[in-house]
Point group: C2
Chain length 216, copies 2
């Protein structure tokens, strides 16, 4: 019906694909279903995208971009190391649990990418994005709490992603929010144990302690 420039049409279709795939799974995101969701006819999709794979790739790219932007915006307030870590974990976890479908889709995309050569780059881009985002978050924690992690941020970021992935997957399976949150906060205490206070005014010493938070 409506005549739109191709770029806008693509945006609309990507959003429709995201809606269908989040709600009904990646296999349900057929070209037909996406067209129906967007309220256009089959031909339109093939006009905007060369084939189904290009649509899926575009959808995946949209997800990772959104994730990255989201992680950039979150600068935690400075209220002591432990609180900063806990608050960051809570924010992260809230974001996950309020979008079950999207979270599940993320794993479906990863496995699909690992099986199908046409989606080759999707998984690695996904994870490069998540590792970068996690590193950014950790850097934010360092700055907000005035501490330094005694483990390289890159290594720590990988661990964060792995742990969040693992607990998220378990939560998707058994739906136990309490256990997931408990586990993540347990990991938070481990993170805390890898922090050392910054020698800000030349007062504190660099010691690898697992001590409680110190006021900033």
């Amino acid at each position: 019906m409506n005549r739109l420039p191709v770029a806008e049409r693509r945006e609309q279709l990507i959003e429709a694909a995201l809606a269908v795939a989040s709600r009904d799974g990646i296999d349900a995101a057929t070209v037909r279903a996406v067209a129906a969701e967007a309220g256009v006819s089959l031909g339109v999709v093939h006009y905007c995208f060369q084939d189904k794979d290009e649509l899926l790739r575009a959808m995946a790219h949209a997800i990772t971009s959104a994730n990255l932007e989201r992680s950039m915006g979150e600068l935690p307030p400075d209220v002591g190391v432990a609180a900063v870590i806990d608050g960051t974990i809570d924010a992260l976890w809230d974001g996950i649990k309020e979008s079950r479908g999207a979270q599940l889709l993320s794993y479906e995309l990863t496995t699909s990418s690992l099986r199908h050569p046409e989606l080759n780059q999707v998984a690695i881009e996904q994870y490069r994005g998540q590792w970068a985002a996690a590193e950014q978050v950790l850097r934010g924690v360092e700055q907000a709490a005035g501490v330094t992690f005694s483990v390289p941020l890159e290594t720590l970021a990988r661990t964060v992603v792995a742990v969040v992935d693992g607990y998220s997957l378990a939560w998707l399976v058994d739906g136990d929010e309490a256990k997931a949150r408990e586990g993540m906060h347990g990991f938070g205490r481990f993170l805390l144990s890898t922090t050392v206070a910054n020698p800000r005014d030349g007062l504190e010493q660099l010691l690898d302690t697992g001590d409680e938070a110190l006021p900033a």
Copy 2:
């Protein structure tokens, strides 16, 4: 060609399904492909299984059963806490990395189960099995090294599964064995920090230390 009792035929078909799905992905495990892999014709599969879902459920069940049995057999030798933990992690990791396809299939099964009502129970059985297996392994570590974990085994088992899942997924994506192994051993040191020595001969004290291994 060959006339086999139904039970054996089912075993054979399950094995064929496992082979196809591990090699080419869960979507490639069509009834046709499984029949071809097993060297029988299409009708035979439908004679042995009511429908495709029953075949997939049987396949999933075979996987979790195998996982459970495998974890039962591994009793680590007693060579000090740290070495026992490291050895257990190495054994676990070796098992994972030498079966990339099966590991990936495991995640595909989980996500499929979470999307399709017909496979409803598959994911939760999968994880109940893994949690039980992890708990068993932790119990084995306790016995072999003469220590006790200061965290409930059930909680710790969940964490083990989450961490292993997370690192495995990352490894599937980027193929970096070194980083995966490094991360898992880092987690091993965390595990070590939650152990307390048993008061075996009334000599040791119960202390929540992160000390090195003590000779048994």
